[in-house]
Amino acid sequence: MSALIIPCYIRTEWDLSCLRRLLDSVFAQTKPFEKVYVVDDASPLKYDIGQFAIEHVVLDRNGGPARARNVAINKALQAGYAHLLFTDHDCILDREWNTRMVAFLDSSDFAAVGGMTYSWGKTLLDRYHDLNGTLAGKWLLPDRKELWYMPSLNFGLKAFAAEEFPFDERFPTAAGEDVDLCLRLRSKYRIGFCPEAKLWHDYGYKNSFTSFPRFLKLFQKYKSSSATLYEGHTVLMWDSSESIYEGNIR
């Protein structure tokens, strides 16, 4: 029994087309989700997703993705789903994604799981993210048997872990709230890695030159959430991790 949670903040037609593309991949799963929650975080663009099988929750004020996810987590927990899976509106799921994530959680003692994330685009910048492992999670060193952190775009939690460790709603944007959750979660549980659970993330680069400012803004955003890093407040165990890429996947 798995529920998929998709927080979204739709500002442009491109965002909306991303969401529709994601939902197409959601409904093409070999193993369907029992429930899909799309939580709209008070988007400026009004839209209709036109899917009856989805619970479309529209929040009355913008509170960030952490709050949006928590709203859906509470609903999913009340409904009794065993596994809560998370992705973002600009992702595309592999057809086997749900099957693999659920099988991994069912067959292991990990309380959480992360899958393998690839870039959707083909520009040099996309290639960089694949090599850098920007959104692909981090191994906990030295053993590389569990994850130090997994971004919430390709993430799953067992219900008891989601109940115990909700997202921290003090994070105002989609940056850092997933790191925070993983750090807290790891104080008690372990996060596993399932490389077969693949999805693609669309960074929105049209080409390597015109999209360069977008590339810079992405890291500026991440820096804003991890200002603690270089300001004397280091994130727990930051140094004992290694970002995942194709070359260290196993």
Partner: protein
């Protein structure tokens, strides 16, 4: 353990930046197999590094991420005289001892960022009243606490309240035989402490832990301690011997083995307070030239102000590539890996 003040070496210089840059770039460049992509990929990585280093963000520093451990060496004084440890030989003068209110204020200021507060020494329970004040405050602030003790001064009232507060007590044991115990402690404390450990186990249950120091001298004893803990259902952790100035014990493993374990130092997460209130990022701070001087003193300055100084930032960055034997200590290991 007082630090030597060397102002000239306290200023950051460009070599620290280069060290940080190479620490990021070299492992990344090894990922790029296509020679045509080497230059553009390294250029992009350099940009990312530069953004993380220099980009100023309006959202500053404190998000409430529970990522730091606050470690308070409450005193150098001890009622044991362990040959493995030289800290007890240098008890701080009474007038230099930090007032407890200053530490409580520090804890309160940082609590949103703390996953744990740890009390160590010397023997923390020589200041049992202060320990309990901190324990009560930590409970109010929802910060888990760990106290590391030799167990001599625990009593039923202390344990009962400590249990209620939900904190962890770690008792240091390097032998379970009377003769070796008394030799390792430098005092005849075996018959005093052993009954107290059993009392602590009965009252604290899973909140009691035992930690041992593995050295050439204790090597034969540690397996017996492990077996004893297993028999009594107490979680145990072994820590490698570190030189704290006593120089009477020796390492069982070589320096190379201690530094070549593939795990980088994580002590940047730590905020350490000396008995006089001096703040460092690691009690072995003095190994780093830039950090021979403490970052500040919580008796005189606000802790957040201290941690936000440029030198604090630079010291954290340098610690990213620290590779000293002290990284094998418990304070640098993820909590989930301890006491397994």
């Amino acid at each position: 353990m007082s630090l030597i003040y060397r102002l000239k070496q306290s200023q950051p210089n460009f070599t620290h930046g280069i060290q940080d840059y190479l620490g990021e770039i070299i492992p990344f460049s090894q990922r790029v197999k296509n020679p045509l992509l080497k230059v553009p990929m390294v250029a992009l990585k350099s940009l990312e590094w530069a953004i993380y280093r220099w980009h100023k963000t309006p959202i500053r520093r404190f998000y409430g991420i529970k990522s730091n451990e606050l470690i308070y060496m409450i005193t150098n004084a001890c009622n044991d005289k362990c040959p493995k440890c030289g800290i007890w030989e240098r008890p701080e003068p009474k007038e230099q001892h930090l007032r407890i209110q200053h530490f409580i204020r520090c804890l309160t200021r940082l609590h949103h960022n703390l996953y744990q507060v740890t009390l160590t020494g010397g023997e923390p329970l020589l200041f049992k009243r202060d320990v309990m004040l901190i324990a009560e405050e930590a409970k109010k602030l929802n910060v888990p606490m760990v106290t590391i003790t030799n167990g001599r001064m625990v009593d039923e009232a202390f344990l009962a309240r400590y249990k209620e507060l939900g904190h962890i007590l770690v008792i240091s044991i390097d032998s379970v035989s009377r003769e070796k115990w008394n030799e390792f402690r430098g005092t005849k404390s075996f018959d005093i402490v052993m009954p107290k450990i059993m009392l602590a186990r009965d009252i604290l249950g899973d909140q009691l832990r035992v930690q041992s120091v593995l050295s050439r001298e204790s090597a034969e004893e540690i397996p017996k301690v492990v077996a004893w803990c297993k028999e009594h259902g107490i979680q145990h952790n072994t820590q490698l011997y570190q030189d704290f100035g006593a120089k009477n014990w020796s390492n069982l493993v070589t320096h190379q083995q201690m530094v070549n374990d593939g795990t980088p130092c994580a002590a940047r997460k730590n905020i350490c307070i000396y008995p006089n209130g001096d703040v460092v990022k690691c009690f072995d701070h003095r190994r780093i030239p830039l950090a021979k001087q403490p970052l500040g003193n919580i008796g005189e300055q606000d802790i957040i102000e201290i941690l936000c100084t440029k030198r604090s930032t630079e010291v954290s960055k340098i610690m990213k590539t620290c590779n000293f034997p002290c990284k094998a200590m418990s304070c640098n290991k993820p909590q989930v890996l301890l006491f397994k």
